[in-house]
């Protein structure tokens, strides 16, 4: 019997297969189906802190619009005793989810500014979440803002949240830092219990008929896993925080690769939306099969075995890997300016 269990954020999980934040966690029934299919934990869909704030402002604006203007219609809506403009609905969802499933429930909080993080995090903890994933979604567009200022936002939010809660806190972040390793280390030092690599920024598309930008949420492709694979491999052993892999994990092979470079858990979303909840069961069976075929005793044995620090070829994670990769394709001139660009990317 192969031991598939893993430790993530201080939680012992039956397998490293976790359902990441997605619409699949909106309904209790769907969460139960994830559990039934073998998900070892579920990250709930994100509570968008800024959206809540904007909604409350909009609600007030729309309820007040046109009032006290005309004698016969001084208001347009019945007075409601109370509005749940805060996270009440989400908190209730946590409570109901906890009551409905046995697997750990990781809440997810999404935002970009300091705002109400601490308060929301505290209330999420009170509602019974086993852990909290902070999805810090900040897309800096202000040219006057320095890299350090951007990084400070992440660290400040994490510090606030850590002070507010006792449950483990993971940070889901993007790869777009000047020095990802430095950033990971800062978050690690600030107390992050886990780093979830990586979230994907919204990238709009253009409607050529209307000449309007349109939201276009793309599901991940298997190629997307290369970036988290690289950075988990580099960071493994260098930070105390547990590393979680997300983006492009679709098949058992992807899971195994991530475990090899050091992921404590692998998170799936797009493939479940595409294939359905039961895909988790298939992946688990194939991972187990692979481990058996390759005579592994446990997932833990595998985890990090091909990370940069444990790899036979550490340079493969760095520049040399790139040079090796492209060598066979084209003649590379080191003085080519595009080289620098590609290197940074």
């Amino acid at each position: 019997m192969i031991d598939l269990s893993t430790e993530y954020l201080g939680l012992t999980l039956r397998t490293p297969l976790v359902a990441s934040a997605s619409p699949l966690s909106h309904e209790l029934d769907s969460i139960r189906r994830l559990e039934d299919a073998g998900a070892s934990a579920v990250v709930l869909y994100s509570l968008f802190e800024e959206q809540l704030r904007q909604e409350s402002v909009l609600l007030e604006h729309n309820l007040a619009a046109g009032t006290e203007s005309f004698a016969e219609s001084l208001t347009y809506f019945p007075r409601q005793e109370e509005f749940h403009t805060g996270p009440e609905g989400y908190l209730e969802h946590i409570r109901k989810t906890k009551a409905a499933v046995d697997i750990p429930v990781i809440a997810s909080l999404n935002g970009a500014s300091l705002g109400g993080w601490a308060d929301y995090a505290h209330r999420i903890e009170q509602a019974g979440a086993n852990a909290l994933e902070c999805n810090i979604y900040f897309l800096p567009t202000n040219p006057a803002m320095s890299c350090a200022q951007v990084e400070d936002i992440y660290v400040d939010i994490l510090r606030e949240v850590k002070l507010a809660v006792k449950i483990p806190v993971a940070v889901k972040l993007s790869p777009y830092f000047s020095n990802m390793a430095f950033m990971a280390q800062r978050l690690d030092e600030t107390g992050a219990n886990g780093l979830v690599l990586f979230n994907r920024f919204y990238q709009p598309d253009i409607d050529l008929e209307t000449l309007e930008l349109r939201p276009n949420v793309l599901l991940s492709t298997p190629q997307d896993l290369r970036l988290p694979l690289t950075w988990i491999g580099i960071l493994y052993g260098r930070v105390k925080a547990d590393l979680a892999a997300t983006s492009g994990i679709h098949q058992a092979e992807d899971v195994i690769k991530m475990l090899l470079v050091g992921a404590k858990v692998t998170m799936m979303c797009s493939i479940l939306l595409r294939e359905g909840h039961d895909h988790i069961r298939l992946v688990e069976r194939l991972v187990e099969q692979w481990l058996a075929d390759h005579e592994y005793e446990s997932v833990r044995q595998l985890q990090g075995s091909m990370s940069q620090i444990r790899s036979a070829d550490p340079a493969a994670f760095e520049r040399a890997q790139y040079m090796r990769a492209v060598k066979g394709i084209q003649y590379l001139r080191l003085d080519d300016p595009s080289w620098r660009y590609l290197r940074e990317d």
């Binding site: 704030r53 309820l63 007040a64 016969e72 019945p78």
Partner: protein, 1111 residues
């Protein structure tokens, strides 16, 4: 309701109605207060109990319930609409214990025992014959005889319980008064104050307040009069035209006579009784008027007088001294002029609460609103003082005047009511150093003359800086407290802060924080202005209406617009409520901060901006290039793109002073600037710098000739939209979703349209004085419009059709009879004309003009008759217009009757899915899950399918449209409906401020309604049956989006997810099911195979048909 009241009383069912007494519609509708509606009920057998103040309304409400249970007589407890119902006042609230103590449980149980129950069955509501009805009717008499004493007993018990004492008739004034006024309602509060003042001055006067008006107790009335009384003036707040006197007057005269007959205890001498009328439709009733009533008893008194207006026709009015005031010095009196949108009223209500709750002071607030819904001015009248405030009239002498909107300076004389040494607070974009030179000279003069202390704040700036947008309520409130010192400044500010937390806390912390920031920022921006010694401003307050306006418009409507309507005498007004149309164009309200500006190069000349403009401020003309010779320098023109207009010029012009700045035009504009896609062919820009040049351009544009209507292809919007709108500049909400449909009717058929308009938003923005948006073309033709009631509109409009048809039939008959006199060829042509399109209608008009010319010299009675009805030979279009409250609910019975009539009328339902005009009550059109008043937990039932019901007749043209979703479809439906020779109904989705939406994007947001299947587009044309086709065309495609996407756009749905999340989830799911089921039903109906062609699909409508002259 009134026949029900007869039944309730006849069956002695204890009942209490609490009625905010309002005006009945006569020559005009008025929503304001007087006793005409309750007096309408005085024959029903209900007891009638009158409250005069806010406190009394609560007290007598309880007394009414208790007395009804004790007496078995149902009670109509009333108080004055608006003056009392909408006044905010510090009162003592009755506790639940008080309520319990006054209600006799035994009477409640007896009442319940009398209820119908199959466990102890009886029958009630029998039919009776002449043999017994009369006797049976008289059987109730002992109950009425016993009622007054029972009411007094309850009043005595109430006095013991709470300490406030009431009697059937309450007398105040000199015990030895010789002159007594008898009255009831809020006016008695002003009279009470005045009597105390006059008695203190030695006058022997008194006031008898009538509380129990029915049953009228003669003995109690006579006993309450001082024995010394020699003359009585009875004041009625109602008018019974043609009666010997108004109702209370007649009762008093009768009571005195009864007193003599029955030898009851009564005044020593039988007093002279005078009657007077006051306060109709909330007309002010002030101490000055009260004094005039008492003064009238000295010398030769006027009887059956009016007071409060100038009757220069019958000279029945009492004159009074408007300067007479008895306001005590210890009352702070403040006036605030604001816009509905800026939150002024809300802030003032809040200030009253703060003062009422945090100090020993009493507080009173009354709020005067505008007749417009967009850019509506509000005037708040606030009093604060150490004693209870009974002043039931507006403030005419204020210590504090605040102007919250700069634009009011040029429109209203706000400082005339400021007392000497008072404070004037102005929200000004100019700072303390610059503001003086920008004030109109009249304002400067008054500030200097009254030695006013003058403060300014740029509240717009503070609001912007703190994220408050256009709402400056909190900011101006802080200023008031800081200057007025009604409370110590710090204490006041802390109270405001607490109140913000309380008021906005339930709506989210962000809202609270923004308001708190505004409080913190305010004081640093508040400045006192050093007032110069001289008025130097060259700025004059402009005339309300342009000098070009006709005399009546300038001298009557213009004065009403400027707020001087109270000063107009009786002779100024039409005797029958008939007013000229086309009058909104004189207002020039200058509401918009930004107006649309046309980019000639980007424009594709699609006409959509003009079509959606709710206020008809975007106009299009196509004209000969030569006409540009004298165009103003900034006037814009482009080559007309339409090939049929080759060689002509094309202009889109905006009326800069009439635009409300809603921005819908920009939102729907499909053309993007090729180099900068944020820009379109029409873009919003700041109004102030554009005001003068664009006003000049607008004037030039108006003078350009309209294109010949015969040369407009009506089936495409790009051409159709050059038609002149005959509905313009309405006072509807900025961005209104209803008005574009009405404007379309006016463009397509306006010069031959007659409109019956149900009461509702459309009757308010359509016909609320001073002005009307219904307009005339250069020939003087345009829509004729009338509003009858809410409930009878369909029948009202049907009457138009019947009358027009009868007149047309008569005209044709006369044409036939006079054929030889007018020429058989002309007669033949007149009778044969099919008038199917604009060209044929034009030709018929030409023929009618010729006919009238020929008839001018005709002496025969028949010629004169034909001359009077000749215009009816031109096809007339009858439109019956109203909202969903009318069509689905209150007027549905009549609407159904009219649909069944088969007559050629067009019903337009402006479907906002809620009672918009009265503040968002649910109608049967309200869709499932929407929150509305009476559906606070989300409407549980699905929307009534009015279109499907109408289709069931088979001979009714039915269309369901949404202009924002598919404008061409809307145009097609309106053309088909009007062309259909039978009843037509168009159900038009109309976005509304009551939906809680972004009004700027509301048109394009309608796409979500259609694409989700929440709203279907279809046309049911019975004429298609003639060719064997299915009459139903489903013009909506299968839904491509979820209903949720539509619901999420609107607060009416969205708020339920915040207030009752679980209910929202359930109702939203059901809303999706509703949409799915409905789409499938319509899809099925539209796909059904039709039978063979129906020759005469339905019975022919008796509309005029071409016919041949019998030679």
């Amino acid at each position: 309701m009134i026949p029900n009241m007869n039944k309730i009383a006849g069956e002695l069912s204890p009942t209490a109605f609490h009625v905010s007494a309002r005006t009945l519609a006569t020559h005009a509708l008025s929503i304001f207060g007087d006793h005409s509606d309750v007096m309408f009920c005085r024959t029903t057998g209900f007891a009638m109990l009158s409250s005069n103040s806010v406190q009394e309304s609560m007290d007598l409400a309880l007394i009414a319930h208790a007395a009804s249970l004790e007496s078995r007589i149902p009670f109509l407890h009333f108080f004055d609409g608006f003056r009392t119902s909408h006044e905010v006042n510090k009162i003592e609230v009755l506790s639940e214990d008080d309520l319990r103590a006054l209600i006799n449980l035994d009477r409640v149980l007896e009442h319940r025992q009398r209820a119908l129950s199959p466990d102890h069955p009886v029958i009630r509501g029998t039919a009776q014959n002449p043999d017994v009805f009369f006797q049976s009717r008289e059987a109730v008499n002992p109950f009425y005889a016993a009622c007054p004493a029972k009411v007094q007993a309850v009043m005595d018990q109430f006095a013991k319980l709470v300490g406030r004492s009431y009697h059937l008739f309450d007398y105040v004034g000199a015990p030895d008064a010789t002159h007594v006024v008898v009255m009831m309602g809020s006016g008695a509060e002003a009279a009470h104050e005045t009597v105390e003042h006059l008695v203190a001055a030695g006058r022997k006067v008194g006031l008898l307040k009538v509380r129990l008006y029915r049953p009228f107790s003669v003995s109690h009335f006579l006993a309450a009069l001082p024995p010394s009384v020699q003359s009585i003036t009875v004041l009625d707040r109602t008018k019974e035209a043609g009666a010997a006197g108004d109702p209370l007057y007649l009762d008093v005269v009768n009571a005195l006579q009864e007193g003599i007959k029955q030898n009851l205890k009564r005044p020593a001498v039988t007093p002279v009784v005078l009657g007077g009328r006051y306060g109709l439709s909330s007309k002010e009733f002030t101490p000055a008027m009260v004094k005039a009533v008492y003064d009238n008893l000295q010398g030769t008194p006027k009887d059956h007088f009016v007071v409060g207006i100038e009757d220069d026709v019958e000279h029945s009015s009492l004159s009074y001294d408007p300067e007479f005031s008895i306001e005590p010095d210890n009352v702070v009196r403040a006036l605030f002029y604001g816009l509905g949108a800026d939150g002024t009223v809300g802030a003032n209500k809040n200030s009253i609460k703060i003062i009422g709750e945090n100090t020993e002071n009493y507080a009173q607030g009354y709020f005067v609103y505008d007749s417009k819904k967009s850019g509506a001015m509000t005037v708040s009248h606030l009093r604060f003082g150490p004693n209870p405030i009974h002043s039931s009239y507006l403030i005419s002498k204020a210590n504090f005047v605040a102007c919250h909107q700069w634009i009011f300076l040029e429109r209203y004389d706000m400082l005339s009511s400021l007392v000497e040494g008072g404070v004037f607070l102005l929200n000004s974009p100019f700072g303390p150093q610059e503001v003086w030179e920008h004030l109109p000279r009249q304002v400067q003069e008054q500030i200097i003359r009254k030695k006013a202390r003058f403060y300014v704040i740029d509240a717009y700036q503070v609001a912007r800086d703190t994220g408050m947008g256009s709402r400056m309520n909190t900011i101006m409130q802080v200023c008031f407290f800081a200057i007025s010192k009604v409370l110590p400044r710090e204490e006041a500010i802390e109270a405001i802060r607490q109140s913000i937390r309380y008021t906005y806390g339930r709506k989210g912390e962000e809202v609270v924080q923004k308001n708190l920031r505004a409080v913190d920022e305010t004081l640093a921006h508040l400045h006192e202005v050093k007032v110069p010694a001289k008025a130097t401003s060259p700025v004059e307050m402009p005339e309300p209406f342009s000098k070009q306006a006709p005399k009546f418009e300038r001298e009557v409507l213009g004065r009403i617009y400027a707020g001087h309507g109270d000063e107009l005498p009786v002779s100024a007004f039409p005797v029958d409520g008939t007013f000229p149309t086309g009058t909104t164009k004189w207002e020039k309200r200058n509401l918009a901060l930004e107006i649309p500006v046309w980019d000639t190069k980007t424009c594709i000349q699609c006409g959509k901006c003009a079509m959606v403009c709710p206020h008809a401020v975007i106009r299009i003309k196509v004209y000969d290039p030569k006409l540009l010779a004298n165009a103003p320098a900034t006037f814009k023109a482009a080559d007309a793109r339409d090939k049929e207009w080759h060689g002509m010029k094309y202009t889109i012009q905006v009326a800069p002073e009439d635009c409300t700045g809603c921005g819908i035009c920009v939102d729907v504009c499909p053309a993007k600037n090729k180099s900068e896609t944020r820009l379109k062919a029409i873009n919003m820009e700041a109004q102030p710098p554009l005001r003068a040049p664009e006003a000049e351009n607008w004037e030039f544009f108006l003078k350009l000739p309209e294109i010949d209507r015969r040369n407009i292809k009506l089936t495409t919007i790009r051409q159709q939209q050059v038609q002149e709108p005959l509905f313009e500049f309405s006072g509807a909400c900025s961005g209104c979703g209803e008005t574009p449909y009405l404007k379309l009717v006016s463009q397509l058929f306006g010069d031959r349209t007659i409109i019956a308009n149900a009461t509702g938003c459309s009757s308010i923005y359509g016909g609320n004085l001073p002005t009307t948006p219904w307009a005339k073309n250069a020939e003087g033709r345009g829509p004729a419009w009338s509003n009858s009631l809410f409930e009878d509109n369909a029948e009202f409009g049907l009457g138009f059709r019947v009358s027009i048809d009868k007149q047309a039939q008569f005209a044709r008959e006369l044409v036939r009879r006079l054929a030889h006199e007018i020429g058989t060829e002309l007669a033949d042509d007149l009778l044969r004309a099919a008038q199917k399109d604009e060209a044929e209608i034009y030709e018929q008009r030409q023929r009618v003009a010729l006919l009238k010319e020929k008839l001018q010299s005709g002496k025969s009675p028949e010629a004169k008759q034909l001359l009077a009805v000749a215009d009816m030979l031109v096809k007339k279009s009858v439109w019956i217009v109203g909202g969903d409250g009318w069509a689905y609910d209150i007027g549905y019975g009549g609407l159904d009757h009219v649909l069944a009539s088969g007559l050629n009328v067009n019903l337009l339902v402006l479907d906002t899915e809620v009672y918009s005009n009265t503040g968002g009550q649910a109608s049967k059109s309200t869709p499932r899950a929407a929150v509305a008043k009476f559906a606070a937990g989300g409407k549980a039932a699905r929307k009534k399918d009015l279109g499907l019901i109408a289709m069931s007749y088979g001979n009714v043209y039915v269309a369901c449209v949404a202009m924002g979703a598919k404008d061409e479809h809307t145009l097609k439906a309106f053309l088909e409906a009007e062309a259909y020779d039978g009843p037509s109904i168009i159900i038009a989705y109309s976005h509304c401020i009551a939906h809680g939406i972004n009004m700027t994007t509301a048109m394009t947001d309608q796409k979500a309604a259609v694409e989700s299947g929440q709203w279907l587009l279809y046309r049911y044309n019975p004429e298609r049956q003639l060719t064997g086709e299915n009459p139903l065309l489903l013009d909506s495609r299968a839904p491509t989006r979820k209903v949720r996407e539509f619901l999420q756009q609107q607060t009416r749905f969205q708020m339920l997810t915040k207030s009752h999340p679980d209910d929202a989830k359930r109702l939203w799911a059901q809303a999706q099911e509703d949409a799915d089921i409905r789409y499938h039903l319509y899809e099925y109906l539209a796909q059904r195979k039709s039978g063979p062609p129906v020759k005469a699909a339905q019975e022919p409508a008796p509309a005029p048909h071409p016919e041949k002259v019998a030679h």
